[in-house]
């Protein structure tokens, strides 16, 4: 996948449930707990070091659909993969194509990342 203005390296995006996301949604979708739980990206420590991204530093993620900014944290993901909890922030990056199934690609999407 090619973009006109390449921002950085390509990563595979996985979105999904976290315990904090689930606890946050009970507090309300407008609560700080929910916002904090869903607006973050987990990255591999070596990838963060290579891109010069510090713990908690804001990064920009961009997919073919959209772009969004959020803090990066070290997580237990393999190199070249990132994880964003399910929710409105992650969904800025997800396209609506469902390949005739009803299911968008919430996992396995290609995204670019650069530190801000």
């Amino acid at each position: 996948m090619q973009w006109r203005n390449s921002l950085g390296e390509n990563f595979i995006l996985i979105t999904g449930r976290t315990v904090k996301q689930a606890a946050g949604l009970h507090k309300g979708k407008d609560s700080d707990a929910y916002r904090r739980a869903t607006a973050l990206v987990e990255m591999n420590a070596a990838d963060m070091a290579r891109l010069g991204i510090g713990e908690g530093q804001m990064v920009r993620l961009r997919s073919a659909t959209g772009q969004v900014e959020m803090p990066a944290h070290t997580g237990t993901v393999p190199s070249k993969m990132v994880f964003v909890p399910m929710g409105p922030v992650a969904n800025s990056l997800i396209g609506p194509e469902t390949e005739g199934t009803g299911m968008p690609s919430f996992k396995g999407l290609t995204v670019e990342i650069e530190p801000i």
Partner: protein, 424 residues
Amino acid sequence: MKTVVENVTCTFCGCLCDDIIVEVEDNRIARVQRVCANGRGVFTDYDPTPRRPIVAGREVEWEEAVSEAARILVQADSPLIYGLSSSASEAQMKVVELADLIGAIIDTTSSVCHGPTSLAMQAVGEVSCSLGEVRNRADFLIFWGCNPAASHLRHFERYSLKPKGRYIPNGRKDRHMVVVDVRPTASAKMADHFIQVTPGADFEVLTTLRALVQGKEIEAGAVGGVPRIELLELANRMKGCRYGVFFMGMGLTMSGARDYNVSELFTLVAELNQYTRFSVMPMRGHGNVAGADQVLTWQSGYPFAVSFARGYPQYSPGEFSAVDVLAREEVDAALILASDPVAHFPRVAGNQLKRIPAIVLDPMMNLTSESAQVFFPTGSYGVDAAGTCYRMDNVPIRLREVIAPMRPTDEAILGQIIEEIKRC
């Protein structure tokens, strides 16, 4: 006055844990025991105070809101009804009646959850079992593309990994657990063996396992990032176990091949039954998403993505599924029952819901209700409303009222909307 209610069911996820202890004080929930971190908020963060419905940003009487909801649905050329999975089956039956009445498209959160699993089940069949069988018999568990340690927190404890059962006298010691995923999740730490698959390669790995189970030779040194020897060991272990169960999740349904991934897994499970006893169970997310499948199937013949526009049910995922009809701007009104598609759909689809008149029934405000034309603050099933939910193994569980109801149920409001439409 303080009362203690035992054996309460938590409706957060498909585990439907029915051993929760709730202390009620002055018709408020004061304390909850045994509930997990994901489900706790169902009881402790829900405010049962009766509130008036909202129409166009202002509080109104219930009759006015019902009348406005009926007007929106009657005037729409192509209404969408969506959600269902956090409501009770009694309310789910009402929305099917409503969809039939107004010629609506009806879709559930299954379409962004285990919809591809339904497609696979329809294509190749599904060898299933109950969670009771897992608890009492399963000596080999494989969790593929799911992470119960984050999504179904008491699954290991109550149903799969840890309980002692009739033929599993020593509990955890008598079970072997494998996790297959693209990343080392919290669930992987609980496993005896973790297999890390390259993202998007699940289909190839499952096909390879089918070949190895059948005794075929594989030339490749590794498939999907997994060494051949590791896959051969897994195949032999599957054939050699007494009672194996796969649990599968969004890792298979949300990535590239979607329903083809699941079909390959279901076929593998069916073939394993030539050698031993094997089953597979989808890890259902919402508390009654399995019930939504059940109700829609027994009433229309199809589990999700059903259109009543022609006066009879038509089934077409990709055509009548909610994300697709919203992204293509094919619906001009929506009724959202107990879900939050603005938060959980791709933004393009969610934003379309803000542009058309929407009616939301939910115990609490959410991102979808913020922009809705009509919002009904209804009761919460299993807290202040009674009803029926289906567990992930499709066993129906009866929910009781833990506190005295002060709000109307989804079922009651839907019934009033139906009656109002019939009068229009």
